[in-house]
Symmetry: C2
């Protein structure tokens, strides 16, 4: 059905000297160079842009699937420019392809449709491009090459290649065989060529095809691009300055002259490619599905199907922890939403050896429709952005809560671009107690909550986990995070809300007659708060219990709702196995926080909960103590830093 | 003066078959294997440990400078075991070298002197080891090989090598020529050997010597170790399982028998090496200096000298921004404290092109006594931990505030291990407005403040920057961060404190007769708050101004002090060009926060300050409005999330 263009169509065989097409490319390259000359650029930038001018022109003239009339049609080639430095080259290409309407728009992410990705830290763009290539691979398997048949090109800088995120993404791209990904790069003016060659070696050692071409030699460029179209691996095209040839002297033409000449066929080619795609699309049997997924609509009866699938899976779950429930919901989602792509870090299912040796333990099943990303979480998170930016997919990842520190740069880009990415973060709380103190998340929750556009969910029961999953899917502002905990004595369901509901971010679980104390908790600590409220009731203290699974949603509720939930008077106690930073928002100046204001230590989870006083008994005592002492001096005394540990280490110079 | 041991002393030439020494190593390897057999290990772990047993034994028997009587003497070889998985091998080595006192200690960081680094995320240990090797290189240049002459050995896992942080650190190690760094690694039992070989290629492409040895072939191991001692590059020794040979069958000895036999000479060799070092040390002319630096004492009159050097440098500073002042203090510090090592990321001095083209602009001088780390901030931050752990140095780095996201994993390890590392973070606030919205730090400050043991300083004037520098040096709990801003109209000095002082973390700058409003600010926003207070005074509103450069220090003050500074009644207004997350701690439930609750946009800094309403006029109006409306409903209304931006992007399927 599909007419896949062969390589020869792009690059007919040449018969000595430059072919007519190559001459036209060379003239276009010259026109682009004239346009660059009009820009105010730093000398170093100008050198690199001049060097990349001919390869990029050859790509745009002969290879790139790009229609200036519809720069965002789904089956276009993605031309990713991840840095502001290289943008003038994209601007020149857009100018020459003659999309006049688009030239009126500023070349900024979200405002110009041809800008595939927002400029970000070095390397993020390469990772995002790898994600786009993965999206293409995934979609072409589902819809076939007649609907999905495009490539991802990256105009990178040499500084992109040396970053950890790019190297992780490169490894993943090599492992996944993303043969439709190609990176064009030139050494910067100040770069050491040996360093640059080292970068190429590292990419070559990550399963990539690396081609070096003379950036002034058009036949060589043409050959390299043609070879890229046939490649079975991701390709890195290193455009090197020529040792002998120089850039040809200026011909007496202006860009405007060229526009009326040779270039317009490029735009015509793009338009014709798109029209034939639209014809194929119109009669494609998966058209409705493709359209639904590309407009991010939910299938009919989706929620009912999803919930049923989740309930079915929970029947065979090992326990009622939020982690089991959240992962069951993920599996159920992949049953009902084929556009789900889940990248999984190996940390997501990290199991302490002691647990692994327990009877009845079995390895959790891998998530279908996804890829295993080992421990390259930063590269993975960068690729998720590309999956989201590509469109037509619902990108999701599973990783351990601790790896957030490595993914943050990429998560921030997702939040900035308001992309719908779902992060399932497992092993929160004190779960990993056995394997060392530095491993327990402490400040991660606070740092996620401080990020704009990002919603953080920390559910307190198996059922609440599913509700939070639904709310995360519906969150419109950007990415969402589900923080999951393997604590085994988390209840299947919490009591019915006494006021409000989980989808409002915070609600009252238990409402006594006359509220003296409000226990506010999230995650598995909600169950502890409920238990503490029973203890307090025995001591004639009326404690309400509030679950607050999502601060962002709760903050969006009317002030009257929040006031009713949090209680107008009495002591407020926050309970969360994490840093108390930011909790004053809900507790007020006289509140009490029970959590971790230091790193954990190596001990089993239950012992750690006791050590940090996150148990019903300890909370009960603290509340009683506070209530009795409440006549005394008020002030934010709970946040005084603890005493420094004695220094154990240090050189021993004097011992004989 | 120094007697540097030659390679031949370790490995005498063999004359066919195993030499006597090699036979003794083989017997020790066997003893170690018996000890491992007594541990409860997962099968995969056991395979790797068994494989590494002979190479590690050979290293400990013949090469490692280690004295069981003083496992922490300064010129020991560092044997870094960065994962809990590999610890049983270290335990076996310690057991066999017979340090009985040490065997009583648990093998945990901070409790056992032989554990050089706390287990952390994959790759962090390799980066820390690179830092230790850099420390050795730096110190040996200052004190000569007679005092500093050791190596750093890492017992890594293959998963360490594929991480971004390890690859960044490997590039830096290659670039710095850290030839005394060697990594021993074996493929894990489940690893794909092709993937493992790819890892080796990447290290080889980062300026490393990569040696593959058969892990069962003792002469080959011996040769590889001997070659490592002569290497001119960092070395990676890949210990591969043998295709033919198998691990020799059990001989009928027990570890206890071996202890009395061949191994004790190893301990004797270590003791004798250390004794001769102590003799050289006793008569070394730099002894006092070496001792002072290794015990982290300050030189006499240090503060006076430093301040004078800083003042001298400030005379030629371009402006009075906290960034200029902080970097001047860094340069002044390196004049007075030769143990300062400053790693600099290229982002530290990133200058927008518009500024760079201004008349009078000159490139800032590079920091002496340091290394340039390009954009490999994650590897750099990992190396800083190694520099600190090595001892004898004052590690410091300069990088852009935005790169915190990439350094966080490593910073967290520094905080957990309470290591003294100083991070100078430049380009805070809205300075980088021109180059794009994702580049402005928003949530970074909050996330740093939420980290335990870490002190965050954000000074408000050139002079306060120096005071914060002093306080950061004196912070005992762990690392410290100085957040610096290039805002040019920051004052040289703030008014004299009306109450308190900067070293207490927060103090009153301006105290009106009857306080109605308290403006609380940090960084360059203090000057804006002062200006706003003048505006308010004209409208007959008495506003106090509080500068709060360090939350951690301020939280450690007595409650009465904090109450006096923040004011008992009236409106509190927080002003900071960052997310307001966590500010409720100081503002209380009715406070007002002026800052950024969204990502920035691309515009010049001043325009952005106006857009976010961080100007004296806008603050003044907000305060007035709030005071007039204060009779109305109270509640945390300021934290409602903003409206979602309209989605600009999305596939256009219907256009013809």
């Amino acid at each position: 059905m599909a007419t896949v263009l062969s390589t020869d169509q792009y690059f007919p065989e040449e018969d000595g000297g430059l072919s007519a097409q190559q001459i036209s490319v060379a003239r276009m390259g010259h026109a682009a160079r004239l346009l660059l000359r009009a820009e105010t650029l730093l000398p170093d930038t100008r050198t690199v842009l001049d060097l990349m001018c001919l390869p990029v022109t050859a790509l745009w003239c002969r290879v790139l699937r790009f229609d200036p009339a519809a720069p965002d049609w789904p089956d276009r080639d993605r031309f990713v420019v991840p840095s502001t430095t290289m943008l003038p080259l994209l601007r020149a290409m857009l100018r020459l392809t003659g999309g006049k309407e688009q030239m009126a728009l500023p070349l900024e992410y979200g405002r110009h449709p041809a800008l595939e990705v927002a400029p970000g830290p070095a390397g993020q763009g390469v990772a995002a491009a790898a994600g786009m290539a993965l999206a293409e691979q995934t979609l072409s398997r589902r819809f076939g090459r007649s609907l999905v048949n495009h490539r991802t090109w990256v105009l990178a800088q040499d500084s992109d290649l040396v970053t950890g995120v790019a190297m992780e993404a490169a490894q993943l791209a090599g492992r996944f065989g993303l043969d439709r990904l190609a990176v064009l790069v030139a050494p910067s003016a100040t770069a050491d060529l040996a360093d640059f060659t080292d970068s190429l070696t590292r990419f070559s050692g990550s399963g990539w095809t690396v081609r070096k071409v003379d950036a002034t030699n058009l036949p060589a460029i043409t050959t390299a691009l043609a070879a890229t179209l046939r490649a079975r691996k991701p390709t890195l095209i290193a455009c090197l300055p020529s040792a002998t040839a120089t850039i040809p002297a200026d011909q007496k033409t202006t860009p405007e002259e060229e526009l009326t000449g040779q270039w317009s066929p490029t735009a015509r080619r793009g338009a014709s490619t798109r029209r034939s795609w639209l014809r194929r699309f119109a009669r494609h049997r998966q058209r409705a599905e493709f359209e639904r997924e590309h407009t991010a609509r939910q299938p009919t009866l989706f929620h009912e199907d999803w919930q049923r699938a989740w309930q079915w899976r929970m029947r065979t779950a090992l326990d009622t922890s939020t982690q089991e429930s959240g992962l069951a919901a993920l599996h159920a989602l992949s049953d009902t939403r084929p556009e789900l792509v889940c990248l999984t870090a190996s940390s997501a299912y990290s199991v302490p050896p002691t647990v692994r040796e327990q009877a009845g333990w079995r390895a959790p099943p891998t998530v279908p429709g996804g890829q295993e990303c080992s421990i390259q979480e930063h590269g993975m998170a960068g690729m998720l952005n590309g999956l989201a930016l590509h469109g037509g997919l619902l990108p999701c990842c599973a990783a351990s809560m601790m790896t957030v520190d490595r993914m943050r740069s990429a998560m921030r880009m997702a939040a900035f671009m308001r992309q719908k990415v779902l992060y399932l973060l497992t092993d929160d709380g004190l779960a990993l107690g056995d394997s060392g103190g530095a491993w327990q998340p402490v400040e991660q929750l606070a740092s996620l909550r401080a990020t704009p556009n990002l919603a953080v969910f920390r559910p307190g029961s198996a059922e609440e986990t599913f509700k939070c999953w639904e709310a995360a899917l519906q969150w419109q502002n950007g990415p969402a995070v589900l923080v999951l905990c393997p604590r085994q004595n988390t209840p299947q369901r919490l009591p019915a809300p006494a006021y409000g509901s989980a989808v409002r971010g915070g609600y009252v679980l238990k409402q006594p007659e006359k509220r003296q104390v409000t226990l506010i908790a999230s995650g598995p600590e909600v169950a502890i708060a409920l238990e503490a409220s029973h203890h307090l009731a025995q001591r004639n203290i009326n404690a309400a219990v509030v679950s607050i699974p999502c601060w962002e949603l709760f903050a969006g509720q009317p002030a009257s709702y929040r006031r009713t939930v949090l209680g107008n008077a009495g002591l407020r106690v926050g309970i969360e196995a994490a840093s108390g930073f930011g909790w004053e928002r809900w507790l007020g100046p006289d509140g009490l926080f029970v959590g971790m204001d230091d790193f954990g230590t190596s001990a089993p989870a239950n012992a750690l909960y006791e050590r940090f006083g996150i148990t019903a008994e300890a909370i009960c005592e603290k509340v009683e103590h506070h209530l009795f002492a409440s006549g005394a001096a008020r002030g934010p005394s709970l946040y005084a830093p603890d005493q420094p540990r004695t220094r154990v280490r240090g050189p021993l110079l004097t011992r004989p």
